[in-house]
Symmetry: C2
Subunit: 145 residues, 2 copies
Amino acid sequence: MSEVTEKRRLTSNFAELSRSECEKLLAEHSVGRVGLSAPTGPQILPVTYAYYGQTVVFRTSPYGVLSSLERHTRVAFEIDDIDEERKSGWSVLVLGSAERVTQQYTLSTLWKEGPVPWASGTRNLFIAITPDSITGRSVRAPFAD
Amino acid sequence: MSEVTEKRRLTSNFAELSRSECEKLLAEHSVGRVGLSAPTGPQILPVTYAYYGQTVVFRTSPYGVLSSLERHTRVAFEIDDIDEERKSGWSVLVLGSAERVTQQYTLSTLWKEGPVPWASGTRNLFIAITPDSITGRSVRAPFAD
């Protein structure tokens, strides 16, 4: 489905976020979800991330599910903040390609300023998602309390 | 990666949730995220859902991305509540198969008691995800404020 078709179907309850609003939200937050197609089917895994140089960067273990992303792989990355009670909130979806960060200069910076994983253990694999598209929307239910 | 391997890697910051804890969280909440492999790559889409008869049910439009799930399709479904400031929270991941709900009795009940989509417009397609696995974990960062 093209982005245009998707936009057309936004109803009065949904408002589209601009690219700069989406990027602002990506920069302000630090927890998101990576969606990937594993051999056994789709997966969604929460990660801590940093929005660095217009890429979404996270650290992972070389032994886990996410390590499969070190080779150029299509992924989805989503952040949101939705209030179930108030039926309102927003979500941002990044579609793009994940790949291992190998450039030495970038790695040095990321070790110092990049995402800090909450899990302990070896998490020395930096994965960067380069966006093909960044879209977002805010939602407000018609029957909000 | 097998579930067992994944469990082994839980660190002191992560605790596994039991199946019944996961099901309780699924029943208590109403917003989650569906992960699917679209022809263009992985997607993550927020939905309002109900946990009904040990399936995750949501309503969608017959014209949107999620309508592709009406035929038996492998999906991921995730809910979480993670506090970025306190670096703590939990997540539950359902892996399973999505399929259109066609049974008349079930549909009648779902129209009355099922998930209420926030979007207006035609959302008369009920999709049920039958879990193959339900796993969850809580997280508490070692350096929580």
